[in-house]
Amino acid sequence: MFGLFGKARPPAPVFDFPGGVHPPQHKGRSNGTPIQPGPLPAQLVLPLNMHLGAPAKPCVAEGDRVLKGEKIAEPVGAVSAALHAPTSGTVVAIGPRPIQHPSGMDALCIVMEPDGEDRWIERRPVADPAALGPDGLVALLREAGVAGLGGAGFPTAVKVTLGDQQRVEQLIINAVECEPYITADDRLMRERADEIAGGIRLLQYLLNPQHTLIGIEDNKPEAIAAMRAACAGSDMEVRVVPTKYPSGGEKQLIQLLTGKEVPSGALPAQCGVVCQNVGTAWAIKRAVHDGEPLIRRVTTVTGDAVARPGNYETLLGTPVRDLLRHAGVDGERLGRLVMGGPMMGFTLHDPAVPVVKTSNCLIAATLEELPEPPPEQACIRCGACAESCPASLLPQQLYWYAKSDDFERAQRHDLMDCIECGACAYVCPSHIPLVQYYRYAKGEIRHQAAEQLKADRARERFEARQARLEKEREEKEARRRARLEANRQKQAAAPAGDDRRLADLKKAVGKASSAYKAAVKAAKTAEAQETDNAAELRARADQLKAEADRLKAELRDAKAGAPAAGAPVPAPTDLLADLKKAVGEASGAYKAAVKAAKAAEAEGTDNAHDLRAKADTLKAEADRLKAELRDAKAANPGAVVKLAPTGKAQDNAPATGDATTSAPEADPEAAAKRQKRLKALKTAYNMAHKQYKEAHAALERTERDAGDDDRERLDALAAKVDKLKAKADHCRDALNALVEEAKADIRAHTGKDLKTLKLEAARAETALRQKADELARLRDTADADTLETLDGELRALDEEAQVARRALKQAVQEQGLVEDDQ
């Protein structure tokens, strides 16, 4: 390998990349003076995301005293880097502060106040890196917080970790520094070439490359000489590249030095190339050989507004304001403050922003130096941008697509391969801020991709939820069916006759006890009013109670006997006839007794009381018989219908019944569709109504808060409210129309409209109630036959009402009007 020196002599094979521009360099302003130490500010602000990747996690608390080089934040995840205290002092705050970001947003920072002592924590320099092994070295770099100092800030530990199958052909040290104004790497190479060479040797140890190439632009002869001297006798090769912007771009430099073009979407490592910045090499050397984590960097401070432009070795976290003051800034002349180079840097919003690992340059420019960009003009399709593009893209096409938000086509024209170098915008005669268009389009594309991802996830979650609900419903349905089946089986097992008898008895018991209760109530009222028949009423109540008790006992017996005996019930019609006769006799006897009692009372004979008692007994008997008759009738509804008088309402009942039975076949598909539409409309209406309510509330709030001075906004809000109200009304109208349609359908299917059905149901109910009242009223006075007739009528009406109700319900359900009906 001694031929290397000779090999470097002949012009090294340097390739070219397409495009590129030659902006004025402005480097002489800051590269003439040696690197000077930066200021020690009153406060250091250390953002947790100085590097690319996940922000570090603080491992100190407010009030903690820290030493210089002490770790204050841990790396989180694979792509992250640690953070260290740049000097000794106290942590005063951990909170949001403005950071180095074009958005001007705040981010979490550790704020510390230096104590001025600059006391180091115990350093552990590694004399023999080979003893640590590659893994140990990578871990050390991660702990030392080393990240790319070139501009992107990619954590170095990640970049030097190779995959199993990966082979590095070329290690490229990027010392091109192609952007105007910046001279930080230039000065670093001139003054610390040996340290840089040490760092490169460490990289060589980690990556084991076939070739190590150091690319330096030919406008830095001193740096070239210094690096050549430092690399003499080693296998590092300094390659001088012609001055052209952006030869310092990673992909462009790879193309310049190796002729390889990194494919679209690929990483340099996939082509067997690893690129490291020259400043990073220096930081690696400091971290390994000196045990010094990354706590300072060389930053160029330049521009016409500073009195002492030059390179300052700045502590990370130093606010830009302090550094500028240190360099003698003239606040009056300062027009624009740029962090980074003039081509790719960004205007700072706040001079409190700190210097971070990636801050290679600060330009405090006057307005004459970096004037306000002139207004954008129309593209004249000159094609200068395409000639200057180092990535061989079509900037003009990309501009049109970005401008018309046609991101898909912009992507097809490889927008994502744009390195945002700004060469196209630099040459544009129409001063179109092309890079800003591309950045906008890229942001939108990323945003859309994120949205798509989120939508997919939402869909997945929605479908999973639907499936879960469906499953739950099915399970419920299955349970319900199982229960129903079990009940049916139980019923089938028990003898039917007994069941019916039991049910009848139960009903009788219920009636008897309610009659008793009514009687008690009547007696109480009478007692309260001190009417003379109070005692009589009371007695009657007692009798009724006895009756109810008897029935209850019977029911109990029946219940006890039913499962075993299952005694057949006598034929209902016979029973009915017998009962009827018995009732008639009992009522007759009762009436006669009442008459006798009344007569006796009127005459004041002393047996009046006895007579009355007798009448009561007879009445009780009659009542009991009547109750029995009722039960028997209930047990045989056919007989009841025969007995009941026919009425107008009753005529309707069967018709309604027929209609409802025919309705289900009517048009289930249409009904289902309407049901769906109804649901949709209801959703829409609810939505609109809610929006309207919200808007209305907002309007009221504004009215309350703003008063008169905000008339315009109020009007706008009012207009919005009206609009929303109109929408809600519209929805409601549509809903009503649909409901009407459904009603019409009901009419078509049942021969009646919904109103008629409802009316019928209501009428039947009313008739039923009236009949019940009448019966109650006449119970005492009317004769047995009338009572019986009334009773039958009541029963018929009850059935009829039930039929009407059912018909109504069915019709309503058919048409999906259930909720509306409620």
Binding site: R321, G335, P375, E376, K454, R459, F462, A680, T683, K690
Partner: protein
């Protein structure tokens, strides 16, 4: 004459053969489901918000496939209308959002947790299961999964749910669109406090 007959016979034979082939193919390669609905559904933003008048995105996709207007998705905005028009070969219609200013704005539900009474009503309303909590326990929204559909706001009996605009973070920030022809691309920012 025979030539004509032969020709007719040949054509009939061909027709029979191709007819059989087509019939066989239509049976054999029958497409299950409705692929266009899936495609439409893929373009909808899946907020499941019901603002289109349908209970969810998929029902709306089905409705569009059956001929409903494709401009009733405010959360999707103009982009979705354009994408749908492109897919269906229909005209690009103006978005039917009733002039709502926040159409297409990304919002996220936020539960004021000290006011929450733990009724679980919002949990039942959420179409994407993005609210966690249990009966009588405080509920909270998984902000990353929230689609901003609003459906949880109405059922809340104590009105403790707010719809907040999703805050831009450093990770989601992106450059603004340049002002356009005739404007200065970048307003100069005054540097103060120096």
């Amino acid at each position: 004459m025979t030539t004509v007959l032969i020709a007719i016979a040949a054509l009939l034979a061909l027709a029979a053969v191709f007819g059989a082939a087509l019939g066989f193919a239509s049976e054999k390669f029958k497409v299950e489901g409705d692929p266009i609905v899936d495609q439409i559904d893929a373009l909808l933003p899946q907020t499941q918000c019901g603002q289109c008048g349908h209970p969810g995105c998929r029902p709306y996709a089905e409705a569009i496939a059956e001929g409903e207007e494709h401009n009733r998705c405010p959360p999707g905005g103009e982009t979705t209308v354009e994408a749908l028009a492109d897919l269906l070969g229909r005209e690009v219609l103006p978005l039917d959002d009733d002039g709502a200013e926040d159409a297409g704005e990304d919002r996220v539900a936020f539960i004021r947790e000290d006011e929450c009474i733990g009724c679980t009503k919002c949990i039942q309303a959420c179409p994407v299961d993005a609210i966690v909590g249990a009966a009588k326990q405080m509920h909270t929204v998984i902000a990353d999964e929230c689609t901003g559909c609003d459906l949880c706001v109405e059922p809340c009996p104590v009105d403790c749910i707010d719809m907040l605009p999703r805050a831009t973070t450093l990770a989601t920030w992106s450059w603004d669109r340049p002002a356009g022809i005739g404007r200065r691309p970048e307003e100069r920012i005054e540097v103060v406090n120096l």
